[in-house]
């Protein structure tokens, strides 16, 4: 019998499908394992996604959500037409980029350094204390920062600047210090928590590899550079990609509470989330707040897809999908 090219392609596809079905059958238990989790995500995450239509409607409760009028992209306008649109977008992006980079470096460094501490007890103590700031809520952190930076009674003005003969700084009115303050506070609060993933990843590395390297004469520093860090690469990549996906979201407590909601600082502390909060405080419009959430998700999504494409080109095994 003669087969044409089309036929052979079709047969190739059919046999591919046949072998896929075989694989599915072979792995059927794995699908069973996934079943509860998939159901949960469908109910908890995907079902509510149907509610995204709220962003495109002008909700009138006497008509109900389904019966309310469609208004296209009108609910999104306030995010773009405002004179502040550039500022809040710039702030959100710059801060999050800084957070991603700095927290990655610090968390990995902390994990690697902890691994070099001799003595389990000391190691445990150092690691536990690093986690402590994570437990303090944004409000409490704001009070603590205030006790340092209060222009009249704050620790910095009273006990550091005054004895040095320097003029007191009105911290909550001067914009230029705050990017550094916020980056520092964010790192202080989160590095302990972020490093846990890397610590546990390091714990999963087979120590035989290190022994072999020592026998080969590698220094500890060389071992860190060529064993530990590469083994952490998959984790680093996935954490970074997840962070990129949330690049348009911000920690509300950090940007609203810590600067004590000071108006003069808004050009450097107003991010998309705080802008939406301040703007919608006295309007009950869930269409507009839903639009903001959709906007933030969409941008993060596009950025993640792009970075996944890049990762796929460089080191395909580490790409998410």
């Amino acid at each position: 019998m003669k087969y044409s090219r089309g036929d052979s392609k079709k047969m190739h596809n059919i046999s591919k499908w046949k072998s896929t079905r075989k694989q599915i059958k072979r792995y059927r238990m794995l699908y069973l394992l996934m079943f509860p989790g998939v159901i949960y995500l469908l109910i908890n995450n995907y079902l509510p996604m149907l509610g995204t239509i709220i962003a495109f409607k002008n909700i009138n409760y006497s008509k109900g959500i389904l019966g309310s009028d469609w208004v296209g992209f009108k609910n999104f306008e306030y995010l773009f037409t405002t004179s502040d649109a550039f500022i809040i977008t710039r702030n959100t992006l710059l801060y999050n980029t800084a957070f991603i980079i700095i927290n990655l470096i610090l968390a990995v460094a902390a994990a690697v350094m902890l691994n070099e501490i001799v003595g389990q007890r000391l190691r445990k103590i150092y690691q536990s204390t690093m986690l402590l700031p994570f437990f303090l809520s944004a409000v409490i952190v704001a009070y603590l920062v205030y006790s340092l930076l209060n222009p009249q009674y704050g620790f910095v003005n009273k006990f550091i600047l005054a004895p040095l003969g320097l003029k007191p700084i009105s911290w909550y009115m001067e914009q230029k210090y705050w990017p550094f303050i916020l980056i520092f506070v964010n790192a202080w609060k989160n590095v302990g928590y972020s490093s846990i993933i890397y610590i546990s990843a390091i714990a999963g590395i087979d120590s035989d590899i290190y022994e072999a390297a020592t026998i080969d004469g590698a220094t500890r520093w060389q071992q860190i550079w060529s064993i530990t860090l590469p083994m952490l690469k998959p984790t680093m990549i996935i954490i970074t990609m997840l962070a990129i996906g949330r690049i348009f979201y911000s920690d509300f407590g950090l940007f609203y509470q810590v600067p004590m909601n000071s108006g003069a600082l808004l050009p450097v502390t107003n991010v998309i989330d705080t802008y939406v909060y301040r703007g919608l405080m006295n309007l009950g419009n869930i269409g507009m707040s839903s639009a903001a959430g959709l906007y933030q998700s969409a941008v993060g999504f596009i950025l993640v897809l792009s970075s996944n494409l890049i990762v796929r080109k460089i080191s395909p095994d580490d790409a998410l999908f």
Binding site: P36, S62, Y78, T82, S83, N150, A264, M281, G284
Partner: protein, 503 residues
């Protein structure tokens, strides 16, 4: 082999547990719902929603209230306070999911305009006519009209003080010590020598305590410029003008003059230097002995109220004449939400809060004997051993409900307080825009932008921390970019349309 079966069973059991827990609760809540439903085929239940903390004896209060009210209107009542911090979110959720509740507290500064325009609450005119006789006899028709939007009444105003005069309150002991002659104080600027004396002679006492949300520039100016627009308060009418031209508050000479005065005082050290960052009420500083005076909205009984807040005797000086604006009449109202299945009963209950002393005082103060004791006719106090912080029923929000004039008085309030209120209300000058509510729907985008601009520039100016000659021009530019001209135009057109039908 056995292990495999075991694990398979475990996984399936897990999924079963998960799905059961999701549905199981449904049956649990359904059964509790159905038991409620079987009750409701006989007596309906009214749910009353308002902001506040949950009192410890709420269940007992609800039971007592229900027993009494059942005889009158054949319905039971559940008072359901919701924490201030969660109020807005929870309300949104309840409306969106269609949850049932019957009476809702609302106010002009609490999204009343939005609640009307998005259909969250229903018009009440016919309900008031049919079931609200008590309301109609108690409330001044002008005040009822004050709750109107587009010619319909959407909420019943709580009968209380409806006007305000602006002024300053001061610690009496210091006023006596330096023998200040308060009769000489006619305008805010007249306070300067007093503040100077305090600054010179009382170390550690701030002459005028101010914060970014509460300063003479936000409060006293309200006696001259009345806010008629959206929530940031930028669109105003000048009280002294005869016409109804809407102005940009920030561009008015009044604003600049007050701002200059505040800045002068800030630089002289008469104002607390942390004014732009603190968020505590101004009276806290006086309570701690760290301040002398702050701005206040005067009404009858204000001095005993502030004495309670600060723990020391306070005296007041009045700077503007009593004035009744729409914001005053709509500062506390009760509405019926779309979600209510028994609006007639809801209105009957609201009516009871206007006419029935037992109902209103139970809602206001809780149970006699437990939360309060009667001292004499119409006067109550805490039971012995109980204080304001330990009393079980601690919502302390009698200004929210019904006819405040039939509620009991406390020993520190003047015995003829209600008479004073009535006098105060009737003598107050009435705004030409009394009854006008602005609907912000058409300018939502501008409102969000303006809110952010105000958040940025207002604190520095109203506390006097920044130089207004520099800041106000910047503020005006930013407002322009955010669309203030559009909102002023919108307010003006709505106001003009309203004026035509309300002459």
């Amino acid at each position: 082999m056995m292990k495999k079966r075991k694990i398979l069973a475990l996984i399936l059991a897990m999924s079963l547990v998960l799905s059961l827990s999701l549905t199981g609760c449904q049956s649990v809540s359904n059964s509790s719902n159905s038991s409620k439903n079987s009750n409701s085929s006989e007596t309906k239940k009214l749910v009353v929603l308002f902001p506040g903390s949950t009192p410890k004896d709420l269940t007992e209060v609800n039971t007592a209230l229900s027993n009494y009210v059942k005889d009158k209107i054949n319905a039971t009542v559940e008072l359901r306070p919701i924490d201030w911090g969660n109020y807005k979110d929870k309300l949104n959720l309840m409306f969106a999911s269609g949850e049932e509740f019957d009476v809702l507290w609302t106010a002009s500064w609490q999204n009343y305009g939005d609640e009307v325009s998005s259909g969250k609450i229903i018009p009440l005119d016919s309900l008031v006519d049919q079931y609200g006789q008590g309301i109609k006899t108690v409330l001044d028709p002008a005040v009822v009209k004050g709750g109107e939007v587009n010619g319909k009444v959407y909420a019943v105003t709580t009968n209380k003080e409806f006007a305000s005069a602006k002024g300053i309150t001061m610690r009496k002991e210091l006023v006596d010590k330096y023998k200040f002659d308060l009769t000489k104080i006619k305008t805010l600027a007249d306070m300067t020598p007093i503040l100077e004396t305090i600054k010179k002679n009382e170390a550690g006492v701030t002459p005028l305590q101010v914060q970014k949300n509460d300063s003479p520039l936000t409060s006293i100016i309200g006696g001259e410029l009345e806010s008629v627009g959206e929530s940031s308060g930028l669109e105003v009418l000048r009280r002294a003008d005869k016409n109804t031209t809407v102005l940009n508050e920030i561009a008015t000479p009044e604003y600049m003059n007050y701002a200059k005065l505040m800045h002068q005082w800030y630089q002289a050290g008469y104002i607390n230097q942390d004014a732009t960052t603190i968020s505590d009420n101004n009276n806290v500083a006086v309570k701690n002995g760290k301040a002398f005076a702050y701005d206040i909205s005067l009404k009858p009984g204000i001095e005993s109220q502030e004495a309670k807040n600060t723990g020391t005797t306070m005296v007041t000086v009045q700077l503007t004449e009593p004035y009744q604006a729409t914001g005053d009449t709509m500062s506390s109202m009760l509405a019926i939400p779309k979600n209510s299945k028994n609006p007639e009963l809801a209105m009957k209950f609201i009516n009871l809060m206007f006419t029935d002393k037992y109902v209103l005082n139970t809602v206001d103060f809780g149970l006699e004997g437990k939360d309060y004791v009667k001292k004499s006719e119409g006067i109550i106090d805490y039971p012995s051993g109980v204080t304001a912080t330990t009393v079980p029923y601690n919502i302390n929000s009698s200004w929210m409900f019904g006819n405040q004039m039939i509620s009991y008085l406390w020993p520190d309030q003047p015995a003829d307080l209600w008479k004073q209120y009535n006098e105060f209300n009737s003598k107050a000058e009435k705004s030409k825009a009394l009854g006008f509510t602005f609907d912000p729907t058409k300018v939502s985008n501008e409102v969000t932008a303006l809110s952010n601009v105000t958040a940025q520039y207002s604190p520095g100016i109203v506390t006097g921390a920044e130089d207004p000659e520099v800041q106000i021009p910047k503020y005006l530019d930013a407002l322009k970019a955010a669309g203030i001209d559009k909102t002023i135009k919108e307010v003006q057109s709505q106001l003009d349309a309203w004026s035509k039908t309300n002459k």
